[in-house]
């Protein structure tokens, strides 16, 4: 029993020691209760915000959000590089390296899209309508169950 406790303690401390800051690289990071895309969303984290990420398991990181909530984030939503937000936003960074700035969404961003829109070169009406097609997690779960789709390994 004592050995088991020791191993458990060592595992926890190793996990804590390995926790490192990672940045959300998608518009909204969905922190889930279980390491699954069908897991319940327990918290959302905005683009550019940092979470503390532990050791990943099959593509999922156990994370702690800035306001202390815990759950799982898929690796595709996370970046090891810091994301410096643009000047004018609430999280604006100063004195960042050019590598960080490259990750700040500068470059090919909404400023460029706004310029193209204002010049009338591209019509984004249907792009916006398409991007608004949303499917909720429970709709997906129902669609899969009703369609007798086995598995669920992610």
């Amino acid at each position: 029993m004592r050995t088991k406790i020791l191993i458990a303690l060592l595992t926890v401390s190793a996990g804590a020691a390995l926790a490192a800051p990672m940045s959300i690289q998608v518009r909204t990071g969905k922190v889930r209760a279980t390491p699954s895309q069908l897991g319940a969303v327990v918290a959302t984290v905005d683009y550019g915000a940092k979470v503390q990420a532990g050791t990943p398991e099959r593509g999922w990181y156990p994370v702690t959000t800035p306001d202390g909530k815990t759950g799982w984030l898929h690796e595709s939503a996370l970046s090891r590089k810091p994301i410096a937000m643009r000047a004018g936003t609430t999280d604006a960074a100063t004195g960042v390296s050019s590598d960080e700035v490259a990750l700040a969404g500068k470059g090919f961003n909404e400023q460029v899209e706004a310029k193209l829109r204002s010049e009338g070169k591209l019509d984004y009406t249907w792009v916006d309508r398409m991007a608004a097609f949303q499917v909720a997690a429970d709709q997906i779960a129902r669609f899969r169950t009703q369609g007798h789709l086995p598995g669920g390994a992610q």
């Binding site: 690289q25 518009r27 050019s98 470059g107």
Partner: protein, 308 residues
């Protein structure tokens, strides 16, 4: 040319040489640091050379999900100029339900703006995956699918192009080097009008590269085969029969022969050759389609696939 000019010229060459000849990194940065320490160039010049070196070393793989998102949006806006959208809420709703229920089993389930699907008003047999997860499908392509499982195979293939960032890989390196140099030289400042205009030019060029590949020149056979293999794995994880990929390709092959080499046939290796590659790993035992899946597939798409 005096010594100082010679050093600056050599450093400038050292930025490009590693990329051209050996793919090594950081030579320009190290050289700039040595020259600065030796007092040959100023700290500002060294910084500028370092930024240039970092920009030259960057490729399409360094584009962030946010940048990929904006490229993908413009790619779709441009493709829609040639292929108008098909405004059928029920069919588009089903396409998104099926597509998004597959995308969660992708190795890249999260993109900046997520996966979204739209039907195009075209009889061509075609499908396009824009960077970031915006996927377009024609009714002509739907007609190659007899059931939900086969449509899942089509969508899985397109999702895997997004997962592997095949669209971004079509962007010419010169445009990216130029864009990353503008970004780096701007440091943390807000972009000025001149830089924005220059960057917008590179953006338009990049979007043009992707659209050209999607609609005209096509991906490499290697990229198509890798998207097929990944799609089979995705179908398996999502619970759909892998054999649907092979039966869909066979059906497409027959229809493409009738279509006379337009659309998909122009930009893809023959469906027959793709099916043969897959048959080495995928059994082609056809199972009878699930009745519920068959019913919802027909209900959602019947009016769209009916020949006009």
């Amino acid at each position: 040319m005096n010594n100082r000019q010679l050093v600056v010229a050599m450093l400038a060459l050292s930025l490009v040489a590693p990329v051209l000849f050996c793919g090594c990194e950081g030579v320009g940065e190290a050289g700039a640091e040595i020259a600065r320490a030796a007092g040959v160039i100023t700290a500002d010049e060294a910084q500028s050379i370092k930024r240039g070196a970092q920009a030259v070393e960057k490729s399409w793989q360094d584009l962030t999900p946010e940048q990929e998102y904006y490229i993908g949006r413009a790619v779709v806006a441009q493709v829609l100029q040639s292929y108008p959208p098909l405004d059928r809420p029920q069919a588009n709703g089903y396409l998104n339900l099926l597509g998004q229920s597959l995308a969660i089993f992708s190795e890249r389930p999260e993109t900046f703006g997520g996966y979204h699907f739209l039907l195009l008003d075209s009889d061509e047999i075609n499908a396009f995956a824009a960077p970031g997860g915006l996927i377009l499908v024609t009714p002509g392509m739907l007609r190659c699918c007899e059931n939900e499982d086969e449509l899942a195979a089509v969508l899985a293939h397109e999702i895997c192009h997004v997962e592997k960032k095949h669209g971004l890989s079509a962007i010419k390196q010169g445009r990216l080097t130029e864009a990353f140099t503008i970004i780096a030289s701007e440091s943390a400042k807000q972009m000025g009008g001149e830089e924005l205009a220059a960057l917008t030019r590179e953006f338009e060029g990049s979007v043009g590269d992707v659209v050209m590949t999607l609609t005209t020149s096509g991906y490499s056979r290697k990229q198509e085969n890798s998207a097929d293999a990944a799609a089979v794995a995705l179908l398996r994880r999502a619970g759909y029969p892998e054999a649907a990929m092979v039966t869909m390709l066979q059906r497409m092959d027959e229809r493409l022969a009738d279509a006379g080499g337009l659309g998909f046939a122009k930009t893809h290796p023959s469906a027959q050759s793709r099916a043969e590659v897959l048959r080495k790993t995928v059994g082609d035992t056809e199972s009878s389609p699930d009745a519920v899946r068959q019913q919802r597939f027909a209900a959602a798409l019947q009016s769209v696939v009916a020949r006009r």
